[in-house]
Symmetry: C2
Subunit: 274 residues, 2 copies
């Protein structure tokens, strides 16, 4: 859980989780640590954005349940574009329920998340059972996509007045350590290094930090969102920066994506030089 | 937020929120405070359960995203059965995101939740912005179902090691008070009376307590769920008891529903006599 000064290439070599390795390899190959939050509400818009921005991003983040005409073509399109442009798909589901329920929400169901999303996230709000439940089925030999899926703990949030702090954040880290065969990183606003937990690192652990609330142009929105710049996020420990409206809601999303890519990459290069 | 000793009929008369009134009227008319958690994974099973148990329940709770063949017929079926048997529908979505995102998840999207679910729930984890965002659109004059929808705050959870406690629970109550035009109650394991918050009650407030983790036969499941009996839950302040596997996973769900209905009602009658 450290603000890593290693390169993505180095981290890819050292990591023992195949999906983490793949993510680092993509970042290195494409020189991008950008995750675009593709919060669009039709299949056409979503797939068009994914196709246009695909070359510049490492990960496409979805809220698949906001897509009004979600259907098989949505899934097929996302999968194809992920291969065409070599990016991972992260469904921002924020699982937060009893273990028995989240297993049904992750596998099958209306949205078939485990079939197409390389990464998902979960909150420790309900306690550790949720992580155990997701890890259990996600790393089971019976699971078709074993080794191709990973979980991020929602360890912090970007919003004003969030309760994802303190003991909650600590427990997210502990849970990640306990289930590191499936948990590959965090959604957090900073490296979580300084936070000491009761569970010691038992092996070479390299959790990946995803930071959301990234926007070059504005400080927040009227509903509680708070922003920082790509550079600031990476300085504080982000390995991947997540931006939605800062990219897709501009007049030229491709230019915006390139800009975030360049700034994010420059900030990363500065960090690994130190 | 008190462990109410008033009858449902009395509370229906006094409440200024139409959907809360409707819920109390249903409970009184059907002599039921049972919410069945219909965690089934096909439309056919879900609608069959709703039709069979409809006469004995006040609310049908769904996890609509676990329904593998979710489609227009699912929604049509739920709506029709809700009218046929006079129960409300509660989609247990546990919204937990920035305001901008939850608005898109609640209205429209793949699951069209605001079109068919009378009640939904949300977590204060991200801060108060989520409640503001949902209340804003849920009580807007532009919203077709204004006055027919309500929000429950996920103030506590049933699971081992949950972080939905302390300051989190307090903030859930404060947020409910602030947005009482839309928030009609809590998911909690007890009446939240004894908890003092900084926001004083500004008017006659009567938040409705829904308690989940209710099961007559067992103490928990292997993934962190913890149970209490219908009677225990109502003694602790539940106005409505939510049970899933305790009802639908038995050999005779109709008999089980009747049993929970009778026990729940008897415990309620005992409580209002005191
Ligand atoms: O704390 C968080 C966590 C997440 C992701 O898990 N998000 C999500 O990032 C995206 C930010 O979008 P924006 O850059 O347009 O504000 C949204 O999809 C929002 O749901 C946040 O905005 N804040
Ligand atoms: O703290 C909670 C909150 C909820 C509802 O918001 N739930 C839900 O109740 C139901 C309990 O099912 P069960 O009676 O079969 O354990 C599940 O749908 C679960 O997701 C819980 O089990 N615990």
């Amino acid at each position: 859980t450290s603000k890593s000064t290693l390169s993505y290439a180095e981290r890819a070599r050292q990591h023992d989780n195949p999906i983490a390795r793949k993510l680092f390899e993509i970042a290195e190959a494409k020189k991008s640590n950008v995750v675009v939050s593709a919060d669009l509400t039709t299949t056409k818009e979503l797939l068009e954005l994914a196709d246009h921005l695909g070359p510049y991003i490492a990960v496409l983040k979805t809220h698949i349940d906001i897509v009004s005409d979600f259907n098989k073509e949505t899934v097929f399109g996302l999968k194809s574009l992920s291969e065409k442009h070599n990016f991972l798909i992260f469904e921002d589901r924020k699982f937060v329920d009893i273990g028995n329920t989240v297993q049904k929400q992750y596998h099958g169901g209306a949205l078939r998340i485990s079939e197409w999303a390389h990464l998902v996230n979960a909150s420790i709000l309900a306690g550790d059972g949720i992580v155990e439940a997701l890890a259990q089925t996600g790393t089971s030999d019976a699971f078709e996509h074993k080794g191709e899926r990973g979980l991020l703990m929602l360890a912090e949030m970007t919003t004003r007045g969030t309760f994802a702090t303190g003991a909650y954040t600590k427990a997210s880290i502990e849970s990640a350590k306990k289930h590191s065969s499936f948990v590959i990183g965090f959604i957090s606003n900073q490296a979580l290094t300084s936070i000491e937990t009761q569970i010691p690192a038992t092996h070479m652990e390299d959790f990946i930090v995803f930071t959301t609330g990234v926007n070059r142009a504005t400080k927040g929105d009227p509903l509680g969102q708070q922003y920082q710049t790509p550079e600031a996020a990476i300085k504080r420990g982000a390995d991947f920066i997540i931006s939605g409206r800062g990219i897709y809601a501009t007049s030229d999303p491709i230019q915006a994506a390139k800009l975030y890519q360049n700034e994010g990459w420059a900030a990363y290069e500065t960090r690994i030089k130190n």
